[in-house]
Subunit: 449 residues, 2 copies
């Protein structure tokens, strides 16, 4: 008997799961359904395509025929799943019904559209799929003033991308800082200043009240003020796509996403569902730091979870641990990265924190082209465990935030990290004492005074 | 009573110890002695100065008057310590005698001169101090053919630096690979090929037998062959400077360096010496991986140890853990890094190993200017603990090797690392699944088949 595996969704989680399932059980029949026209691409790269750094064609790794011919995986694009029955184990898609032995749900998320008047007007866009990106690219030709709604990482990336296209750009954020969920105010400020130098205007502490216009958008109101524009890009966060999970009656957690076990199995009325696996933006993760749920919604998390889901759907016994959710972005000349909790998230979990901070360089002080680097590390004031870190630097933040992530996931105490930590050094790639270690020392001093 | 602290040596370990001691006890009288003319510089940068990337002036962070005026530390340059008495607690230097309450020994190392005929000829150089570098710079004007004796990291850096100055360069190595102690053969090979593309010639498996010439060097013989040259640079490893430790009768370990406790105190006949601290290239460290001694001899290790030694010499209670000794170098267009044990070192410790490896890119595959990246991770075949890793990449190896170092120092099992590890992702700085994690997966597959 051939094992029938159906995957719903063809983003990073879905396609990774499909490939992992086929590798684990090469005789399995693996079938993927997606409403999207394109598969196997990274939506994270859309701002850079709009900026002209790469092309729509280049960012699509493979098309459906590649998966069919090279990997023996059948992919149905532009095909909506209209029904799933967990008892008879059948999926209905594109008017046909398919049996499954195991099912992987990787339906991802959709951009949250704030419930304000005018959100459906012409030239109000979201950034999620290649086709979203192409619509923006097309509309850009006739637009001069763009409002970005939401100053999270994607909002900032889009703001700069559009600004580099010569447009007048205003980013409007409801909180009193940019990147309010994942970055601390003192780390967000240098990033905001950097973007202001490119000519981007910021309006903080201002929830958008309405989007106005006739045929097309003409202005946005926020905090009682009017911001004239001919395009609005909504970068207002991502909500899990729960249509399929709800068809199956799966438990939804308090963050509005599917609750999963470490094997990426969901629950129904608190009972583990054995033959379904869920991965990517549609799941709620367990925090490695606080005893509570968290949302990762990162491409790297989707791949990691997709691997586990795909292997297990094909009969393996893989598992995925609790998460710190490290992230990084390159915005202008800055590399911005974070991991674990921000101060705002720590407050949400009721954790009392102490932080340490160091400023230095990415290379030796005297080495040409060295860039500034700021590292901040936060610890639980009671246990001294490291619980979060952020880096703003001119280069090379990625490996360093992964380093801190390893320490944070392992619950390392700040003092133990400082005693043990070693850094590789050569003048073109670091200071003799890496800024990460200097920040850890400052943290230990602050914890113990 | 003012605490009198004497520091012997003004390299990374010595000057860090002096500053840390003064910060810990601001009223202490801190006095430093060095035979060198310059202080507070990184010898690691000498190859890059010779290449013209920076200048001798720029690499000296501070001079003696800065330390005196800004930090209240007295530094005696070009002053040799001729006697130390641990009973009366006196140091004799430059013909005068000084009392100490605590003593920090940071006498560093010296380049090992192989015991072959002609090693004292004119135009046979070592690379250790700024004055060594200036001598090479001066001699370069009249030299055309240079032999580098020893193809470790410093030998390779010097080979490329001299080659970029237009010289004919041959690197002669006694082992059958470059970087024989710290890198595995399969990781050393792409580095050798890269350097050969710059026109550097390599002669492997050939210990140098003699250096010949009249007034000045004319050729080197190795494995019975003659290599004509008008300059030889010895990059044949560093041995601890044991003159001062021997005056004090301190215990010397089997690797030929001073044995120290985690507080950086030495031993005399197996008994801890309370009022002396030792740091930098002169000490033998405890390996974080194998139950045995190891040599770090890295600038970053010297700073770390100097901090602990300096704090404790001023009455604090700091300690330094066992080490993995991560290192990195930029050689041509390659970033080469390693941590923990190489295969050769693991064999020396009698550890049975399994390794995993992945090849990928430093950025997303489609992102402009992405570079190749090879990551290799090694585990103990019995315990599955990660014990070593190496990276060869076009950029961004440093943070990633620190990340792996954290896991290795903590004794993380390969399977646990893979289950927990997360990587920050954005297209300009990593693949969606970092090459480090792909290498860890390959390692787990190899361990469990």
């Amino acid at each position: 008997m051939v094992r029938k595996i159906i995957v719903i969704g063809a983003g990073a989680a879905g396609m990774t799961a499909a490939s992992a399932a086929k590798r684990t059980d090469p005789r399995a029949a693996v079938t993927v359904f997606t409403e999207d026209e394109h598969i196997a691409y990274s939506p994270c790269v859309i701002p850079w395509v709009l900026e002209g750094r790469t092309t729509w064609n280049d960012i699509v790794m493979h098309d459906a025929s590649y998966y069919s011919e090279e990997r023996g995986i059948t992919v149905h694009t532009m095909t909506k799943v209209t029904a799933v029955d967990g008892n008879t184990k059948k999926v209905t898609a594109g008017g046909r019904t398919y049996d499954y032995d195991t099912l992987v749900i990787a339906t991802g998320g959709a951009v949250f559209r704030p419930p304000v008047p005018g959100v459906g007007l012409k030239n109000v866009f979201v950034v999620r799929t290649i086709n979203d990106g192409k619509k923006i690219q097309n509309a850009m030709k006739d637009c001069n003033r763009v409002v970005i709604a939401g100053a999270g990482v994607i909002g900032l990336e889009m703001a700069l991308s559009v600004r580099k296209g010569g447009k007048d750009v205003t980013a409007i954020e409801m909180f009193d800082q940019i990147m309010p969920r994942i970055a601390d105010k003192d780390m967000a400020e240098p990033v905001q200043k950097h973007l202001e130098r490119f000519g981007i205007k910021f309006v903080l502490s201002s929830p958008i009240q309405s989007i106005e216009g006739g045929d097309t958008v003409r202005w946005v109101t926020a905090s009682g003020k009017r911001y004239e524009c001919d395009m609005v890009i909504l970068a207002t966060g991502v909500r899990a796509n729960l249509e399929v999970p709800k068809m199956l009656g799966l438990d939804i957690g308090k963050l509005g996403a599917v609750v999963v076990s470490p094997s990426m199995r969901p629950y129904r009325n608190g009972v583990l569902v054995d033959d379904i696996f869920v991965a990517g933006d549609v799941v709620q993760c367990e925090s490695a730091i606080a005893s509570g749920p968290t949302m990762s919604q990162l491409g790297s998390s989707a791949v990691k979870q997709g691997l586990v889901a795909g292997k297990n759907a094909a009969g393996d016994r893989a598992s995925s641990g609790a998460v710190a959710s490290p992230w990084v972005s390159v915005i202008g000349d800055l590399h911005i990265a974070g991991t674990g909790l921000s101060e705002n998230l720590a407050a949400w979990y009721n954790i009392r924190t102490v932080s340490g901070r160091a400023e230095g360089f990415t290379r030796a002080r005297y080495y040409p082209d060295h860039k500034e680097m700021i590292v901040k590390i936060m610890a639980d004031a009671d246990t001294h465990a490291m619980i979060g870190a952020q880096i703003v630097a001119g280069e090379d933040a990625t490996g360093r935030i992964n380093w801190l992530t390893d320490a944070i996931i392992n619950g390392t105490k700040a003092e133990d990290f400082l005693e043990r930590a070693e850094n590789a050094y050569c003048p073109p790639t670091s200071m003799v004492r890496d800024v990460v270690i200097s920040a850890a020392e400052n943290l230990c001093n602050n914890l113990n005074r």
